[in-house]
């Protein structure tokens, strides 16, 4: 088996830039969401389509990122 149709795209969630990497292994689609800076993994999801896997990742990443507090410097 191998990862196919690997694709990355960037979007903003809860005010933070996020990188989504998605690909298909066999019939299952996988998506990994990372914050762009510093590049830490937020979540990894699966779905029957790229859209489904991405939507799950977006929802989970949004939940996590919305909890991040910004402090005055």
């Amino acid at each position: 088996m191998k990862a196919e149709e690997f694709q990355e795209r960037r979007l903003e969630l809860a005010g933070w830039p996020v990188n989504l990497a998605s690909y298909r292994i066999g019939t299952e689609w996988h998506c990994k969401a990372d914050n762009v800076s510093p590049g830490a993994g937020l979540c990894r999801t699966t779905g029957a389509s790229r859209e489904e896997a991405e939507q799950k990742a977006i929802q989970r990443a949004q939940e996590l990122l919305s909890r991040t507090k910004r402090n005055a410097v």
Binding site: M1, K2, A3, E4, F6, W16, A21, Y23, I25, H30, K32, D34, N35, S37, P38, G39, A40, G41, L42, R44, A61, L64, L65, R67, T68, K69, R70, N71, V73
Partner: protein, 287 residues
């Protein structure tokens, strides 16, 4: 990879594929996301969990010599095995594993340039099953602690400006705007950075495909912040894995002689009673 100071510590995905059945080579995957290995991995690779197999699970520390020997032995690794490590997030915890392998004197340990992401993006073969391993009897060397910085050394270096301190976290973590990478749990009481540190995020050392930038680009990146190898360098982040990545770059790709990884990092310094903290954005680079 001929322009690096020590190109022998890096292999390409093509090299790994070509050595898939080489009995002198063992491949290990180490991910931030410890379940990624099960999704599919480089055929023949063993999977190591950074949070249970690459640290002391009782007290906060790296592996003991005995535990490192157990891990190597159970992974079928001999002292003369060529150990190739790769992982997600452009090899964050792969570098952490390599750093420990160097501490315990494993002779030939290398990173797969680009890590898991590049392997996936190139559509290379994946395996779902764990390989059959013939355990070995592994004896490690005495720990080489010249590769590791402890709190007292960092305190002295900061106070005397005796070393170039490289903070590899994001600019927002460095400034104190956030206490952990966005979306991750806060693990410190105070935000900011160690006095005297320069902000050089780890990711600046990488290309978009996860591979390392050229030696010339890396030299320009670090020397632009006054980090040129003329004095000892201490790299730190939050828990020590991102700084392992930068430690690898400075030690092996640029060939700096005295580079240490402060694995206590911000989860130690930012929770320490009475520790001096600087806040705010990056100041102008100094020589």
């Amino acid at each position: 990879m001929p322009d690096y100071a020590h190109p022998e510590v890096l292999v390409s995905t093509e090299w790994v594929e070509a050595h898939a059945n080489d009995p002198t080579v063992r491949i290990a995957e180490v991910d931030v996301d410890t379940k990624a290995y099960d999704e599919g991995h480089v055929p023949g690779a063993v999977g190591w969990a950074w949070n249970t197999q690459l640290c002391d699970t009782l007290r906060r520390d790296i592996l003991s010599k005995e535990k490192f020997e157990e891990l190597m032995a159970s992974s079928g690794i001999k002292p003369d095995t060529t150990l190739i490590i790769y992982g997600d997030n452009n090899n964050w915890f792969a570098a952490w594993a390599l750093w420990q392998a160097k501490i315990y004197g494993h002779k030939d340990v290398r990173l797969m340039n680009g890590g898991r992401k590049k392997w996936l993006a190139e559509g290379r073969e994946l395996s779902a099953g764990a390989p059959l391993i013939q355990p070995t009897n592994y004896q490690a060397k005495v720990a080489d602690l010249s590769l590791r910085a402890f709190l007292p050394q960092v305190q002295e270096a900061s106070a005397r400006r005796a070393a170039a301190m490289v903070d590899v976290r994001s600019p927002q973590e460095f400034s104190g705007e956030i206490l952990a990478p966005p979306g991750l749990p806060e693990t410190c009481q105070r935000g900011g950075h160690i006095p005297g540190a320069r902000s050089i995020p780890w990711g600046k050392a990488c290309n978009d495909d996860g591979t390392f930038k050229s030696a010339d680009e890396l030299r320009a990146l670090y020397s632009g912040e006054g980090v040129d190898g003329s004095k000892p360098v201490i790299a730190y982040c939050r828990i020590g894995e991102r700084s392992s990545h930068t430690w690898f770059v400075l030690k092996y790709l640029l060939g700096f002689d005295k580079v240490t990884n402060y694995d206590g990092s911000w989860t130690e310094w930012g929770n320490l009673v009475g520790a001096p903290v600087e806040k705010g954005a990056v100041a102008a680079a100094k020589g």
